[in-house]
Amino acid sequence: MDGFQEQLWVLLLGSLLGLELIGKVPPTLHTPLMSGANAISGITMLAALTLMARSGENTLLLSLGSVALGFALFNVVGGFLVTDRMLTMFRSGRKRSGGSQ
């Protein structure tokens, strides 16, 4: 019960932190921010890993965990890389325009 209460506190404080962090986001960054936050939500991969580590030799659970891990990692790797791709373009766009004019 204590553990659960502590977890509820963590949930509450985490939510407040999230509300606080996204203050004034310029419209330019809406798309990258969404895809970046999306990548973070793939953190369920930790839950998949935990499940697998606890599964012993149970093949059903291991394969289920493996699929879950695959989905989560698809989200994490894809999300971070695609966000980076977008943000790189922003940077170089600025730089080059500054150089040529």
């Binding site: 969404m34 998949a48 170089s92």
Partner: protein
């Protein structure tokens, strides 16, 4: 506490700090890229800490490596290959996979407990039920959103009627019942729970129109954070709870911001049905009568004489891959001492901020982009507006016709400019399927054709006129 536990605890704390800094940094253009990398490294730290502490068996390592390799490689390839125009459906796809993962983990934990003949305590069972429901809704909802954005899924007619509310309420009731039974320890209710929650995800997303889809994606993004937090409760990991809660809350804020940008309330988006649904009535005058079309030559002549030109890029521009030709036209005009700026509607492109990404890809200087509130007062002093593949966001009906489904949506007041050129493939309706009064205005001329082709012709005409040639 063992030293491995301490190690993991320390790394987790560090990871939370980095994630928070990452989310914070993503909201400023200068720090965004570093922030994204910071968040990514936080994830790596968390995985290392977990693996060191949990010490999985050899078999588990093999399964982990397999799943991670397949998911990681597919993710990397997708991220690299996907065109920037397809960003909304890409985010939806990634998001759906995150939700699916939470769903599978919750199922796995429940099956594991059943296999051991143990009953998890009530709180864990509630978390599992919650994780299954939110995970399943995120999964199918995101897939439907992706299908709709790709144009694979039309909205079936009955989904537009009131009917769907009854249908969704019935589904929600089944979900609730099955969830209560599952939490109560019944195994029979588990699969009905998964099935009904999945159907609910479809039922909630399918009726929502294409124009509102970005809001839905943002909301689903928030859900996938909630699903991650729920999974954190299931396996008892604080890091997941914090990270999931942060993403969930941030997603909600972003959803709000987007709704404000479109002047739509969240309930209207979720339950109001598709924009421009064939609602009969105000559709009487959907035929265009007074269209003036013109040639690239005339347009070039007008541009040559202009001092201030504003380009309104829309999704049609991106589809035609014409950003680069546009950039060349703009370069010529700039050399001719014409001031060229770009008016960016909050939902230009296919999701908020999407057009900025697409123009950045075409190397358009970032400083030339103007937000709607900044550019709107400047239209009366503008000589020429070039509307490229945008439609609903320049529809004056949104301000003048209270019966229009677009009424109230903030739009760019391009009709205030001296001359408006609209480049468009044909007279087909826009995203929302609503007639655009702008096209019939006396100061509007249409240039029909594919945006890239029209801009190519325009470029040729400008060169013939000697614009920008020193």
């Amino acid at each position: 506490m063992s030293s491995a536990e301490l190690f993991q605890g320390g790394l987790d704390l560090l990871a939370v700090a980095l994630l928070a800094l990452g989310i914070k940094g993503l909201s400023k253009i200068r720090s965004a890229r570093a922030a994204n990398q910071l968040a990514a490294s936080a994830m790596v730290l968390a995985v290392v800490g977990l693996l060191v502490n949990a010490q999985p068996a050899a078999v588990a390592w093999i399964w982990m490596a397999g799943g991670a390799a397949v998911g990681g490689v597919l993710g990397a390839v997708t991220a690299r290959l996907v065109p920037m125009t397809a960003m909304p459906e890409t985010v939806a796809l990634f998001n759906g996979c995150g939700g699916t993962s939470s769903l599978l983990v919750a199922l796995g934990v429940l099956l594991a407990a059943k296999g051991d003949g143990l009953t998890p305590n009530l709180l864990v069972l509630v978390s599992i039920g919650f994780s299954i429901v939110v995970g399943a809704i995120t999964c199918t909802g995101s897939m439907v959103a992706m299908g709709k954005l790709q144009g694979w899924l039309p909205t079936p007619g009955w989904m537009m009627s009131r009917w769907r509310h009854g249908c969704n309420i019935a589904l929600a009731t089944v979900v609730l019942l099955a969830a209560v039974l599952t939490v109560g320890g019944s195994s029979d209710a588990l699969w009905p729970l998964v099935a009904s929650a999945s159907l609910l995800g479809i039922g909630l997303t399918l009726p929502i129109g294409g124009a509102d889809m970005p809001v839905v994606i943002s909301l689903l993004n928030s859900y996938s954070g909630v699903a991650a937090a729920a999974a954190g409760f299931v396996v008892g990991q604080r890091l997941l709870i914090v990270a999931g809660a942060m993403v969930g809350a941030a997603g909600l804020i972003l959803t709000q911001v987007m709704c404000a940008g479109m002047n739509r309330s969240l309930p209207a988006v979720l339950f109001g049905g598709a924009l421009g649904a064939p609602s009969s009535g105000s559709k009487g005058s959907s035929e265009y009568t007074n269209i003036t079309s013109c040639s690239a030559e005339e347009c070039a002549l007008t541009l040559e004489a202009a001092e201030r030109v504003v380009v309104v890029p829309g999704y049609g521009l991106a589809v035609a891959q014409a950003q680069h030709t546009l950039r060349e036209v703009a370069r010529l005009l700039e050399k001719h001492r014409v001031t060229v700026t770009y008016a960016i509607h909050p939902v230009a492109g296919r999701m908020p901020g999407h057009m900025n990404v697409l123009l950045a890809e075409a190397d358009v200087p970032y400083e030339q982009l103007r937000e709607m509130d900044v550019i709107n007062p400047e239209f009366p002093a503008t000589d020429v507006v070039l509307v490229l593949g945008a439609n609903d966001v320049v529809n004056p009906q949104a301000k003048t016709d209270p019966d229009s489904p677009l009424y109230g949506m903030p739009v760019l007041d391009v009709q205030e400019a001296r001359t408006v050129f609209v480049v468009k493939r044909g007279m087909s309706a826009g995203y929302s399927g609503i007639k655009n009064d702008l096209f019939e205005r006396p100061n509007t001329s249409m240039l029909f054709g594919d945006a890239k082709q029209v801009l190519g012709n325009l470029l040729g005409e400008l060169k013939i006129l000697g614009v920008g040639q020193l």
